[in-house]
């Protein structure tokens, strides 16, 4: 059974098995958009793991017993499941395939990778709310990668996730995992291929801050906020944030550490016009590829200044503004300007 596939080989159709994130990255790669290399674990790796460890019944039991409002019971169930998961072994075929892919995609011996959950089906829409967006950064070595994968799986049974699913009466969950070569980002952030506030489709809204993406995604900093024209790459509005903290690779070589940003650097605009222009370019390509507005996580590599996309997903939150219906004709519209509406 194939549990692991290179991101390069995935397409949208693979989302049901590998999760939305992995499939989306595959699509981006196919569209020629710069994405760090990586591989994906299928949901069947997770189900195989649960089956071999004999955890299925235990999960069902724990979940069946909780009622949505009972926080203590939920907490207990979450602890018990995740303990059981963390002590269970990863099936050999899964571990072997992870090892193969891990060693194959980088030249250095134990390359740092990011291990992230890749939610499946309707879960993917709710994943953010349900606290299933776990990210393990700067993970090195096959053993640690496998541990991080197991931690991702376990996050399906975090207290909020259980309570969320209990409330919505969702079925047994499943999850894919994305493993990607880590970018040591000098600057990273998120961008929308439209203005999510006004709905303007000609704008790219960019949030950016120093270091790895965690700070922006986790809301730990007020990022620099740019509104940029897709048409000319001009910055239409900007608000520089006080970027007080940043995440950088742990000097010890494993994991990421949070540190204070020096006062001089906090208020400095973290993107130059060239970086903004390349973000706009990528935003347009990503949007063009998917044919819908996208919410894109990106990073600027510290050594090469290369812009890399680490995730893209559809924007679901654009306000549906009450738009005036399109005018019947130019003349009709002009008449209305003069308060002489026809009909």
């Amino acid at each position: 059974v194939t549990y692991c596939r290179s991101l390069r080989d995935l397409r949208t159709a693979d989302a049901s098995e590998f999760g939305g994130k992995s499939a989306g990255l595959g699509e981006l790669l196919a569209a020629g958009i710069p994405v760090p290399p990586g591989f994906a674990l299928s949901a069947s790796a997770f189900t195989q793991f649960v089956r071999e460890a004999g955890l299925g019944g235990r999960i069902d039991d724990a979940i069946a017993r909780v009622s949505p409002g009972d926080l203590d019971a939920i907490g207990a169930a979450a602890r018990s499941i995740s303990e059981a998961m963390r002590s269970a072994p990863i099936p050999d075929p899964v571990r072997d395939q992870v090892g193969e892919h891990y060693q194959a995609f980088a030249s250095e011996p134990a390359p740092p990778v990011a291990v992230r959950s890749s939610a499946i089906g309707e879960d993917s829409q709710d994943a953010t709310f349900a606290g299933q967006q776990e990210s393990y950064l700067w993970v090195r070595g096959v053993d640690h990668v496998c541990d991080a994968i197991r931690d991702c799986w376990a996050s399906l049974f975090s207290a909020p996730a259980i309570s969320y699913r209990a409330r919505l009466r969702r079925d047994q969950p499943a999850m894919g995992v994305t493993v990607q070569l880590m970018v040591d980002a000098a600057v990273s952030g998120v961008m929308f291929t439209c203005n999510p506030v006004s709905g303007d489709p000609s704008m790219v809204a960019i949030n950016a801050s120093w270091g790895l993406g965690l700070a922006v995604v986790g809301g730990e900093v007020t990022p620099d906020d740019f509104l940029v024209s897709k048409v000319t790459s001009e910055i239409v509005r900007e608000q520089l944030g006080a970027k007080a903290v940043e995440y950088v690779p742990d000097p010890g070589g494993r994991g990421a550490v949070r540190r204070e940003v020096s006062p001089q650097r906090r208020d400095v605009r973290c993107l130059d016009p060239m970086a903004v222009a390349s973000l706009v370019d990528v935003a347009r390509r990503v949007e063009g590829h998917f044919g819908a507005h996208q919410d894109v996580e990106w990073a600027l590599a510290r050594d090469t200044s290369e812009l890399l996309v680490v995730q893209s997903r559809p924007v679901t939150s654009v306000p549906k503004r009450a738009r005036k219906p399109p005018p019947k004709s130019a003349i009709a519209a002009v008449m209305s300007t003069f308060g002489a509406d026809t009909g």
Partner: protein, 583 residues
């Protein structure tokens, strides 16, 4: 000095106090000389006639004005009765519809009409008053005596002016309205689109207004090509430059070339044209010569000075295509249709200024000056220019007495009557110039709804509330972001055209409003700030072309900023900051 109806008056206090009046500093930045008040009456007669009586714009009649200490405040007359609005809408739809449908054809006719009017003005003679009438009067029976000819000529001069203003406004409302509709469409469907992109998509490429400077660039190149560029030294007067050119064959050939293109292209006003002292380049060649000196220096330094029309055209089409493609499919066709209509009407919007405000008006002032010369010749005035201190009706009165006493041979009172009045008025104007009028009077409305006020003056609800906030004090001025970029530097406040020559390299221009005739100084300045105007204003257009940051419509920049102040202009955000300190 001003007509009775131009003032706030006890007898209509109740109505006037409850209206919203804003200072029309766009057109009348300095106190009005008595004669120049004709440029308030005629335009508001004309705009009201078209807007209210011809097209019957449903919610808005004409614009009233009041003169306060020589400054002009205006206020629109709304139509509020729904039945009346509906009645007017029928007129408007039919009549405006006709204009839009036949725009290009009607505009061509308009241009012909304007050129004929300008020619007629050129032919208008201002007779002198001879000791003896010539023989023809006696022997040929179809001639009139000079008393009649003087009065007739003055009457005709005024009528030609009225006609010009009538033509001026024939297309104006509809032209601006079509553009405003496109801009609104963009704003509601692309809410963050910079105003300048909207303007860029519509603006013409081969616009008449760019032609004068294009001719100067060509002449600068010719000066270098024929080796006479040495004459163009910074600090020299046009006469000094001409004198040097006249010494060589090549120089004389260059002067001939200049002579060929002067008319019509030097019929540019040195200001926005509504005051008598805005001469044309023909009258005052300092501006075009300053520009020539700049172009020559730039060419010598190897700079590219040509307006990159192909790039501008390409960019304009690219913007339009890109924005269209970003819109939802069902809005793409209306976008193109509205853009198309805007582009159809825009030649008028851009070119009427050249025909009316510059070409006609500068010549018309000169025609009126001839009556000043006639009055001065007969000592009714000390100087021909003094005529402008009298109202047009007073001038008619003075001419009446002049031809009367010329005819009778009696003693004229005029030489004793008019000069003291003129002297007094000059003093008054000087005093009034030192006062800065508040941007608005009366009741600040919750919202500005009059489409004309918004369209023609850029006076929006937002702007009015900014004004209210900014009343004195504060180190920040808000305006419309007209051309992007941020620049810091020393301010140069230019309140009248006479101060243009003072502008130094690297300064930030702060003015009430600029006119196309100021174009040459845009190669010297690093940014521009104006009191009034929107993103379609001249300063905005030129700044975008030159890539200079610009904030327009700040309301009080010329009042709060002084020459030498260090300021920051953020043309992207529309904010001007006084940084403190002077250079």
């Amino acid at each position: 000095m001003y007509p009775y109806y131009a003032l706030f008056d006890e007898r209509r206090r109740e109505t006037d106090e409850n209206r919203f009046w804003f200072w029309n500093s766009m057109h009348f930045p300095v106190p009005m000389p008595a004669f120049d008040a004709i440029c308030i009456d005629s335009p508001y007669q004309a705009v009201g006639a078209w807007q209210n009586r011809v097209f019957a714009v449903p919610p808005a009649m004409g614009i009233d004005y009041r003169c306060v200490n020589g400054y002009i405040y205006i206020s629109g007359n709304p139509v509020t009765d729904p039945a009346k609005i509906a009645e007017r809408a029928e007129f408007f739809q039919k009549r405006a519809g006709y204009y839009y449908e036949n725009w290009t054809e009607l505009y061509a006719k308009w241009r012909a009409k304007m050129e004929a009017l300008i020619a007629e003005l050129g032919e208008l003679k201002v007779p002198s008053l001879p000791e003896y009438e010539p023989d023809e009067i006696a022997f040929e029976h179809d001639r009139n005596t000079a008393f009649y000819e003087v009065l007739d000529s003055y009457g005709r001069a005024l009528r030609l002016g009225d006609l010009m203003w009538q033509h001026h406004f024939e297309f104006l409302l509809l032209g601006y309205g079509a553009y405003a509709t496109f801009a609104d469409f963009c704003k509601s469907n692309l809410p963050d689109v910079p105003d300048q992109h909207v303007a860029q998509m519509v603006a013409g490429i081969d616009v008449l207004l760019f032609k004068p400077d294009a001719e100067l660039r060509r002449l600068a190149r010719r000066a270098i090509d024929t080796g006479v560029d040495g004459a163009f030294v910074e600090g020299r007067t046009p006469d000094e430059i001409n004198a040097e050119l006249a010494q060589t064959d090549a120089g004389r050939a260059w002067l001939d070339d200049l002579e060929q293109v002067k008319d019509p292209w030097f019929n540019m006003a040195t200001g926005d044209g509504l005051y008598h002292y805005y001469h044309s380049w023909l009258d005052d060649p300092r501006i075009p010569y300053a520009s020539l000196i700049g172009h020559v220096a730039a060419l010598r330094a190897g700079e590219q000075i040509d307006r990159p029309t192909e790039d501008i055209q390409r960019e304009r089409d690219r913007l339009a295509d890109e924005y269209a493609s970003l819109l939802p499919r069902e809005l793409q066709a209306p976008f193109h249709e509205l853009l198309g209509l805007s582009r159809t009407v825009f030649p008028y919007v851009e070119e009427h200024k050249f025909f009316c405000d510059y070409w006609f008006l500068t010549r018309w002032w000169n025609k009126v000056r001839e009556f000043g010369a006639l009055l001065a010749h007969h000592r009714f005035l000390e100087d021909a220019e003094d005529l402008f201190q009298l109202t047009r009706h007073e001038v008619a009165t003075a001419l009446d007495e002049l031809v009367l006493t010329w005819a009778t041979g009696g003693e004229a009172l005029g030489p004793k009557h008019w000069p003291p009045i003129v002297a007094r008025r000059k003093q008054i104007l000087e005093r009034l110039a030192g006062w800065t009028p508040p941007p608005a009077l009366g009741v600040t409305p919750e919202a500005i709804t009059d489409p004309m006020t918004i369209m023609l003056w850029g006076v929006t609800t937002e702007r009015v509330h900014d004004w209210a906030r900014q009343q004195e004090g504060g180190t920040e001025l808000n305006g419309a972001p007209a051309s992007p970029g941020v620049v810091e530097g020393a301010a140069r406040v230019v309140k009248s055209v006479h101060e243009i020559a003072d502008v130094r390299d690297g300064e930030i221009l702060v003015c009430s409003i600029t006119s196309p005739a100021w174009a040459p100084i845009f190669s010297k300045i690093t940014a521009a700030v104006t009191d009034i105007g929107g993103v379609m204003s001249h300063a905005a257009i030129v700044c975008r072309e030159y890539g200079l940051p610009s904030v327009v419509g700040t309301g009080r920049a010329t009042a709060q900023i002084h020459t030498g102040d260090r300021i920051r202009v953020d043309g992207s955000a529309g904010v001007v900051t006084l940084l403190g300190g002077r250079t």
